[in-house]
Each structure stands twice: as structure tokens, then as C-alpha cells.
Symmetry: C2
């Protein structure tokens, strides 16, 4: 049996680069950039007017001019129109390009307009006001987004601005989620009195969906030959196999034998943790990884967040968010030589501290309890008593 830290290390050592692919910009939200994107011109590309009003040359104001003849009107998108005399102005709109002969924008609110003349009604005018200057945000060829950046709505705007209609993003691993066992029936079937419906695979798929992986699902029956044949196909067609249950000491667990025969090497079996002790992890000699989570759904859910997602982020080169910690809100005793992943509800207190409120379940297989919580708190292995007010790492889930 290995520790949580050792298991994490073994798994992260298997982070793999699945390459890159080109996708339409419109489908890129949530993906990770695999290219550096540069500004194709300055941003803004010209001195951009930021208020509706008039454009004047500030020298005129210094010279005491306070009424300007409106020479022309320039909308956003129009070719700029210059003034020729100091007492002229251009009526100009937000988004327009500042003509070269003027340097200051006076907004309508500070003007009185009549018969083609604009008269100032304020003294507070600064040279260069109300202009967003060419290149102020980004210079031509300056990087606007880089490799490893998550494509968020704010980044989308930058990418659109520079006209990138297709983006090179990190490829995601191909994942198949396997369930097994004749005691499980599909959700649209009526289970016998001693069967239950599959549910764990749907939860795993939902978590993967949140991370933009469209995983396939497959159910293995309790049949040695079928299991071996299907596992072989999965190893040929996927980068990752996620199993929950089926790898234990049980007499009908044909999966470990099949994996061994198919040259999937065990990298570890059993981790000093609760839930999730019988967690098995292995690698096929051609690359595919097998995460065999315990059958207990809470254990699978925890292992998915504690091990699989960090592995995924490392594989696609996504910059990791800093780990979160929280203040434990009540005393916890745990007298087993295992690292305990406590189910907690996270809240913020009046001091802006993140507080973890333990939610006691009926045991680690109780998924009903999990819907009332939003994180696992990772309590150190070497201790048995955890006091209210102590700070420990938390693994939030949505």
C-alpha cells in the first residue's frame, strides 16, 4: 500500500502530451491554447474616440476659442475628416478614428449645439481627453494569448479582436468509462430485487463533460471472454480507461486477469486513503492508462478529483489553479492509518475565510450525502485528531 502523495507522483509521472488540433474559434471555450497568438495590428488599431461629441485641436482652446464651427460629422467606421482652421471642429462618434488635425474630444454633455456651432459649457478640458490611443492595449505583434492558457470568455474577446477564426488547441485524451457486473442494469431498465441501476458511470461522464471530454461508456458483463475482448478493443481505441469497481479480490472479478494478459502493467494497487483504498492504476505498454477506481461511488468521485483531473491538467498543459485550503469548522476524530478525505460544505465567513463544514454521511458509499457537500478536505495521514480552526487542503467539486 502506498501513500496518497506517492500515488499522485506515480500518476503525474504518466502525464502525456496528446498533441494539438485546429478547431473553429467558436468551439474553443474551455479548451487550452497550443499556440501563441499575436496582435495582427495595434490594439486599438488607431486613436479611438471614446465619447460622442466634437473633436478639436487643443491649441485653439489655449488660444481662447470657445465656439467651434462644425465642419463635418464623422461616424464610427468613417474615413477621418480633418479640420483646416483652428476654430473648426468635427462632430464625431464613439469608436471613430481620431483625425490627425485634432487631439481632444469634448463630449456632448459639455457643449451647447446650435446652427452648426458648438460652444463649450465647461472649463475642465484636458488635452488628449476621451481618446483610447493606438497600441495602448497591445502593440502590433505583441502576444495577446499564449500556449497553456485556458480559453475563457475574456480571452475569446482578445482572440476575436485579432481575427483568429481557427485556433490550435491541446488535444484531449480519448476516454472510455467502463462499468462492470451483472448486478448493474441500465437506468431505463427495471432492476430485479437484488440488482441496482448503473449510476457511477454517468457521474464520471458528467465530471468529464465539465472538462470538455466527451467520454464513451461501455458496460462489461461478468463473462471472462467478453471482458478480455472488450478491454482489448478499448486499449486499442482510447488513451485512458476509467473503471469503477471490478478490480478487487472478488471471485468474479475477471478484469485484473484480463488486464494482465493484455499487458497492462500494474503501477500501484491500494492507497492509504479513505475512501478509495482499493484504487488500482496501470499502464499498457503501448501507452493507454487504466485508472481502476473502487466500486464505491464516493471513492470514485474523490479519486477522479484528486488524481484524474490533476493528471488531465498536467497532460494538456493547463496552468493549474493554486490549491485551496479551508478552516475546519468542527472537531474530527479518525483513528485509522489512512488519509481521510472528509466530505465538507464550503462557506465564507465574515473575515472572508473559506470554512469547511463537515457533513457526516452513512459511510463512504453514501452518495446521497455527497449532494449536500461541495468539497473533500484532505486530512493528514499521521494524525487522528483534527481541531476546529485548523487549516487543511480542500478539493472542491461543482
Amino acid at each position: 500500500m502506498i501513500t496518497v502523495e506517492e500515488a499522485e507522483k506515480v500518476i503525474l509521472a504518466q502525464a502525456a502530451d496528446y498533441g494539438a488540433e485546429i478547431i473553429p474559434f467558436e468551439l474553443s471555450l474551455g479548451r487550452v491554447l497550443a499556440e501563441n497568438i499575436k496582435a495582427d495590428r495595434d490594439l486599438p488599431p488607431f486613436n479611438r474616440v471614446t465619447m460622442d461629441g466634437i473633436a478639436v485641436n487643443y491649441n485653439a482652446i489655449e488660444d481662447g476659442v470657445c465656439t467651434f464651427k462644425i465642419k463635418a460629422t464623422q461616424a464610427a467606421g468613417d474615413e477621418p475628416v480633418d479640420i483646416e482652421e483652428q476654430d473648426e471642429c468635427i462632430e464625431i462618434m464613439t469608436g471613430a478614428m481620431l483625425p490627425g488635425s485634432v487631439d481632444t474630444i469634448i463630449r456632448y454633455e459639455d457643449l451647447s449645439l446650435r446652427a452648426g456651432l458648438a460652444t463649450l459649457v465647461t472649463n475642465e478640458i484636458k488635452r488628449g481627453q476621451n481618446i483610447h490611443y493606438k497600441g495602448q492595449d497591445k502593440k502590433h505583434n505583441e502576444q495577446v494569448a499564449g500556449i497553456g492558457q485556458l480559453i475563457t470568455p475574456t480571452l475569446i474577446s482578445m482572440i476575436a479582436s485579432v481575427g483568429e477564426t481557427e485556433l490550435r488547441v491541446k488535444k484531449l485524451p480519448r476516454v472510455v468509462i467502463l462499468s462492470s457486473g451483472d448486478e448493474l442494469v441500465d437506468i431505463d431498465q427495471t432492476p430485479s430485487p437484488y440488482q441496482i441501476r448503473r449510476s457511477n458511470n454517468y457521474t464520471v461522464k458528467a465530471v468529464l463533460t465539465q472538462h470538455h471530454i466527451d467520454a464513451d461508456m461501455l458496460h462489461l458483463p461478468d463473462d471472462e471472454l467478453v471482458i478480455k475482448k472488450q478491454l482489448k478493443t478499448c486499449l486499442e481505441n482510447y488513451d485512458v480507461i476509467l473503471l469503477s469497481g471490478g478490480v478487487s479480490m472478488g471471485k468474479f472479478d475477471h478484469i485484473p486477469k484480463a488486464l494482465e494478459e493484455l499487458k497492462v502493467e500494474q503501477l500501484f494497487y491500494k492507497v492509504q486513503q479513505r475512501p478509495g483504498k482499493p484504487f488500482w492504476f496501470g499502464k499498457h505498454n503501448k501507452g493507454p492508462l487504466v485508472f481502476a477506481f473502487p466500486g464505491n461511488p464516493v471513492a470514485t468521485f474523490m479519486c477522479l478529483h484528486r488524481y484524474f483531473l490533476p493528471w488531465l491538467n498536467a497532460s494538456i498543459g493547463k496552468k493549474q489553479k493554486l490549491a485551496l485550503s479551508a478552516v475546519l469548522n468542527s472537531r474530527i476524530s479518525f483513528h485509522h492509518p489512512l488519509k481521510y478525505f472528509l466530505q465538507v460544505k464550503l462557506q465564507q465567513n465574515e473575515y472572508c475565510q473559506l470554512v469547511a463544514i463537515p457533513v457526516e454521511g452513512n459511510g463512504s458509499g453514501d452518495f446521497a450525502n455527497l449532494t449536500d457537500t461541495d468539497a473533500f478536505m484532505e486530512l493528514p495521514l499521521e494524525r487522528n485528531e483534527f481541531k476546529k480552526g485548523e487549516v487543511f487542503k480542500v478539493w472542491p467539486f461543482a
Copy 2:
């Protein structure tokens, strides 16, 4: 000009119920439940074995029996097999239904197995151990999920367990995102020296995608007749029109006139805030709402998070998360009679406090700056100086 709180109140008063729709369970992640879901039987539906090993009657152990004859083997999903004699046991697997004649599971690790006999190698056995009891998580007809709950991966598991293949969820409003102005070209076009590419509409669409709304996009040219015709069509076909730009004092802003002619009543115009002062909000007499955000992309992004998303959550009956606050990390001065939405980067300090680090931009139109931040901090209107260490509300974005 109204305050942020007044604007919020006016908008939330327009929260509308768009009804419910039935969708396949597999597509329900992130939606909001519009029905209560009950357990169709106890969860677990039977006394469920949680370890591989043997099932015995604890009375035998009390009577000193320590070697048991294996009468039969029962896999998960099998019909239960009973013992007839006290010194008999059933070899049994995780997930199996506990037979009525036994009450205790002894795992393989605590046994020595030989020639059809199982001998105890531990004294630490408790009556009823290693069993997940019938109805321990939920009773038959007990609610497992309710109206207004967000469908998360953990809830997915509960819903699958009770066999709901179709779910009644809250309908989302139909939204169209309008951009306007001949100065904007599409991202696949080459702008003239005085044009720029559309980007704001893509950002708005991305934020809506994060909230499961598949919004349409439409660009309005600077043509009064076309604008009126297209706005009319939008009012007939959508519940919400999101505009950015186009509603200002500009000479070529035909939108306000068209909205008025189309019977969209102004509910407010201008809010005491920066960015986003020229925010316009109105309602058509047949129901559709018009959020006309300012043209400045940062203002649009702020208003979307500060006003539109709370309105959306109220409309679909989604239980709101508690508002977050953070500790301001450096002194800020802001001498305008406006509520300032400061761009900040959120971090956690060693005391588990959420800390907001201001990231100064080049002005409110600078979207480049926004990609380095992850929240707006809402600073009170009535003050001009904000000290390091003070706590204010924050509006995070992804």
C-alpha cells in the same frame, strides 16, 4: 441616473418564469430541476454486502464457531442463497444482496480458506459488519432531488439510481446578442484602417454558453429601416435582447428611436457606476426584455455578471450561491460620484482569506487587462478612499 442597487431592483423585478421542458437525462448537466424526484424504492434497495468474503450468522461466532463450511457462492446480482446450519456460510461478493439467514460479513483478509472451509484469523468481528443497510441512504418515496436544484455530477448519480431517464427542467430564455455599427467587421474579415473586428458579442455568447444558453448573434448595420425591421423580428422571437453599444447620444444611434417606436419602454437609463454608466434597460409590452449594455466591452462584461446573470438565476429559480467578499489588498482612491467596479485578481492567503489584488488597466475599455483578472470588486458609492485590509463584495468570472 439611478444607483446600482436601484438598477438591480428594477431588473430583478422583471425575473420571469419561462416554464419547463422535458429533456433526456443525459443532457441535463448544469440545468435546473423543475420537478421533485423521489426514490422508486429504498436506496440501497436491499441489505448490500460491502466487502468480498463470507456471510455468516453472528450467533455462531457467539457460540464459538470459528470454521465455517462454504455452502454456496453468491455473486453480486445473484439471487440470495440461505444457510441451513449455524456452521455454514455463503461465500459472497461486494454488491450482493445479504441472504436473510445471515447478518455479518467477514472479509477475505480475515479468513483462511481451504478445502471448502473458511476459518477466522481475527477476533475482531462485530455483528452486522460490512453491510450497507436497505434504505440507509433514502427510503422508498423519499425525495432525492427537488425543484430549483442545479443538476451537478453528484445529483446525476442520484437521478440515475432511481431510473429517471427524462427530466423536467426549467426552460432557459431565448436570447439574441446584437452588435451594431458599420465600424465593426466580422472576425474573418479584414478591417479597414478605421474599422475594428467584432469581439464583444463573442464574449457575451461565451458567458451565456457557460450558463447553458445557446444564444443567437445578429449584427445591425447603421441603417434606420433595417434596424427597426430586425429589432421587430427579435422582439417577436426572443425573450431577451442583449445589446452592446448603440444606445447613446451618438448621432447615428438609431436603436433608441427604433426601440421606442416598437413599444419597448425604458425602465432606466444610466447607472451611477464605472464602468457602465450609459446602461439602458427596457421592456416590450409583450414581455421581451432589452439589456442595452454600453459599447465599452469591459462595461458590458461587468453588467452581464452584475445584472444579467442574477436576473437569469432568479428567472430559472436557481438557488443563488451566497455572495462572495474579499479583502482589498492595496489602497484605492476613486473620486467620482460613481460606484467603482475594480478589476481584481483573487487569491487565497495563508489564513484562508480571499484576497483581491487590484490590476490597473489603461481605462475601462481595455479588455487586455481583464484577461489577467478574475473578478470585479464593488466599492461603495459614498466613499472615495478604500484602505488595504477592508472587505468588499466581489463578482467573480471564469
